[in-house]
Symmetry: C2
Subunit: 300 residues, 2 copies
């Protein structure tokens, strides 16, 4: 079965477990709206790819790790879209959760998704309970304090922040959790997979900054120009567009180089290259360079 099919099916099962008769129906609807239809599911795909590379002797636990990470990612999107943050009306090309269901249910949907993520992990640990403590801890580290995505979002409330600390927490942490959790779910040492997660996570954030400037809202599925509007730290403000593109390309190369040697190394490297092309098409980078364009005015 293809990884994306396993992910969608496992997400559907996880959500169904919270939708027993007698549950509040609007909250169930808001949760479903937050998770389906999804984006590229890159984090859970990364998690499953690493698990596969590590032998994946407990597929149910690896799927649960992938699902937990995607549910936590969805929760962060729902809360980040709230009026007190981005106040985004659209997400993945349609209404954001608070725009469709109201702010109260959006707060609660995010909370419920966080809980469901950890509960999904726990429920899948029957065959390998000894793996659960470290696996849960690494997933939680990608989300919580002091260096997870919640901390990353909180840096936007601080007057002084380094771009590296901010990006590492806001995006990188959950990518590191994805690779490390994939390894742990298969009983392997996570440390060999940490660099790959870090490079990809930073590349993803830089790509997001690039697309926030170059992109069109209908392609992104969310408003563009948000970084400048919210005066958020971003790579364009620091490096200019040309510098950000060069940085992105060097991070993708570093990610490719970080893939540990092994039977699945070629497949993993191909996945990284494919994701790179999806994030920032090489043709667009070349067109920008060939036009000798100047970087747009810095945003911050």
């Amino acid at each position: 079965m293809k990884a994306i099919t396993r992910i969608e099916q496992s997400l559907a099962l996880a959500l169904a477990s919270g939708e027993a008769p007698g549950c509040p129906p609007k909250l169930a609807g808001a949760i479903r709206h937050a998770v389906f239809p999804g984006g590229a599911r890159i984090r859970p795909q990364l998690c499953l790819a690493v698990a596969q590379a590590c032998g994946q002797d407990d597929p149910a636990l690896s799927e649960a790790a992938a699902v937990a990470i995607e549910l936590l990612h969805c929760a962060s999107l729902v809360h980040d879209d709230l009026p007190c943050f981005d106040d985004a009306q659209t997400r993945r090309g349609r209404a954001s959760v608070h725009w469709a269901y109201g702010e109260s249910l959006a707060v609660l949907a995010g909370d419920a998704l966080i809980v469901l993520a950890f509960q999904t992990l726990a429920k899948a640990a029957g065959q390998s309970p000894a793996r659960l403590p470290a696996l849960l801890n690494i997933v939680a580290s990608g989300v919580g304090m002091p260096f997870g995505i919640v901390a990353g979002q909180a840096w936007e409330s601080e007057s002084r922040v380094s771009l590296v600390d901010y990006q590492r927490a806001k995006t990188g942490a959950l990518f590191v959790a994805s690779t490390c959790a994939g390894a742990l779910s298969a009983g392997a040492d996570p440390d060999a997979w940490r660099d790959l997660g870090e490079c990809l996570g930073e590349a993803y954030q830089v790509a997001d900054d690039i697309r926030d400037v170059m992109g069109q809202a209908d392609l992104l599925g969310k408003p563009v120009g948000q970084d400048a509007q919210h005066a958020r730290p971003n790579a364009i403000a620091n490096l200019g567009l040309g510098g950000a593109i060069a940085h992105f390309e060097s991070l993708i190369q570093a990610a490719v180089d970080a893939v540990p040697e092994g039977a699945s190394a070629q497949e993993m490297r191909a996945l990284v290259r494919q994701e790179s092309e999806r994030l920032v098409p090489r043709a667009a980078c070349n067109a920008y360079r060939n036009a000798g364009a100047q970087a747009p005015a810095a945003a911050g």
Copy 2:
């Protein structure tokens, strides 16, 4: 060491784990504001009391269960106080988190507390990893979908709701999690302790409704009259004040009767009686009855 001392020390350790150098300082402050100084810590006390009654062979795990439940309770208070819910300016007699730190950091503090709760459980499972899946699952059930406190809060967004379903989810679920997690953390069967949690949880919610009508803001540490103001389902609207007091007393008796026989049964029953007196002093109930007072106008 007294239970309350163990709880406060364990809470302090859990928070310190998220406050490494390099964390966003305002979020760390908001989280601390949400947890200290605390309320009565009744849920973690209940959890530890049940663990004690079950032999408590892994005190660190029992403390982690108690801490996880209190952190989840604190998270729910922070989010319930937000402008899109109660918009409460005070909590535990001082500024609510969003009033002190702003709405963004209050949302993030709640999220971080939920993550920290599960991470605390995972970190303490080294001695008894086989207990973690069921323990984590029962704690998550008290919070998430379909019947936990997040679901309870979501019932306030529905036009039709039964008072019993609402109260069972909004308050009862985390009391059930407290008693059952106490048993599980000690390797005991949780089912014998479920009824005690259910009766106490319902009693606690009815007491909250009673105090919302009878109480004074400076004693409660939060505004009174909130149920009527927000048209929330509540026991006073259904039963009148006299009926609610009688219902509270019957629930406390049911809780006393639900304590399983055993070496610690007398201590546990004394704890229930003591908590009852703290929630709704018997003197106040008797004064109400002796005055032959009529119930105030129903709120809903």
